[in-house]
Amino acid sequence: MPDRVPVIVGTGLSDYPQAPHLDGVQHHAQAMQRALADCGVAKDEIDGYLDAGGGGMMIDDAVTMAEYFGIDHRYIDGTMTGGSSFEFHVQHAAAAIRQGLCDTVLITYGSDQLSRMGRGLGTGGLGRGVKRFAGPQQYEAPFGNSLVGSYAMAAQRHMYEFGTTSEQLAEIAVGVREFAGLNPRAMYREPITVDDVLASRLIADPLHKLDCCVISDGGGAIVMTTAERARDLRQPPVYVLGAAGAQTHWNISQMPDFTDTAASRCGPVAFGQAGVTPADIDTIQFYDSFTITVMLLLEGLGFCARGEGGAFVKEGHLRRGGDLPLNTDGGGLSSSHPGMRGIFLLIESVRQLRGQAGEAQVPDCELALACGSGGWLSCIGAVILGREHP
């Protein structure tokens, strides 16, 4: 009986954080070439393909990209849950591999967001006229909310309910910046302090500029296959031990509880599949669109009790040398955020588990948790990856 345990064998990142020589589709392509070269899989072996689109170009949906790449798929998936899409993709690909629906899976993402649209994007709004907006957006568009504003409303409520402070949120940005200093490709590498974060201008109260992720270009690709096939490949396999996703809303005005995300639903499922607890995790790669995103994921996944995220981050767990280093590539807050960053979380987890993270390497890294947040704290995907299979 062949061993159909799903593993990640190849990863590739396209040029980032700024790559004016690439369009969105070219980011997909470059990342794919690098992921295949990483593991030694040939392109014609790929029989499963997953792509969320969302790179800002109309032609990067899954079926169009499969045609573009020349992939004769037996399994295809275009699930789009915003920045967490790729954590959902790993869940789906793992199931498909176990079921024998396909053997060798490619997941890609690419975006030229910075080069194409520039830095105004993150706070960009829509016009007031309601007649131009169909569906739920007509009930939000008239009010000039921004992307940052949606997360700011969650931060404001967290502060109100639990006494969380701007200093505590800033601590997250400071720690991630420290890791960015170790990544030659990170967009911002100079160390910052809590005071620097608080002194940066408010974008949407209570979030400051340095509470917000960067805007970049970039893309990534992942190759998954069976543990059996992985034995003949270039890289040590990284095992998918648990993968789960959940959704509470899509539009921010429908968020049922501004201090609780779907992480509290999908976290226990992922931990249960892996047979581990938060205390066993060696590094976390979390979606850090904003500092509050990280805090809500920490609480939702059970790394600390609900409402205690502020005190938890102040204890230094997430910093370099801490027992739960966060976003060791510099994260979205300092390194890169091409719009939907979830694939970077998985790729950095793999780098840590292979022991290939250089100065940022977490000692004895056996278990990593990648957790993506898509939309406006809407769709959460948690993936637990391990160096060994139990």
Binding site: G125, G129, V130, Y139, F143, G144, A204, S253
Partner: protein
Amino acid sequence: MSKPFWEAASRGQLLIQRCPSGHRQFYPRAVCIVCGDDPEWEAASGRGTVHTFTVIRQNHARPFRDELPYVVAMVELEEGVRMMGNLTDCQLDEVHIGMPVEVHMIEAEPDVGVPFWRPAAGGPGTRGATA
């Protein structure tokens, strides 16, 4: 689906939905999100409290860039549903979670009223321009 809401708003009336079992919801949909039954329109009180909010200080899109800074709030109606809205007629530093607010309609374009919010009568607001 949305036409009755916007037409009512242009007449100064705020509508939400309520199904035969009493589940209320906003935004309007063709089904009740609790039980799947048919929702009907119901006039809301127009009174609520600020559940959470932010002060938008950067937005490049018109017309909002000309109105900065302004408050975007999630207002929890007395009926229990929440809706997004702008808060006017008060100073920015007066806005707080739990603040009582009441609706007032702005005619954003012909025949389309948009619900805005201001401090409830007797509340802490001061009349005048939004800060």
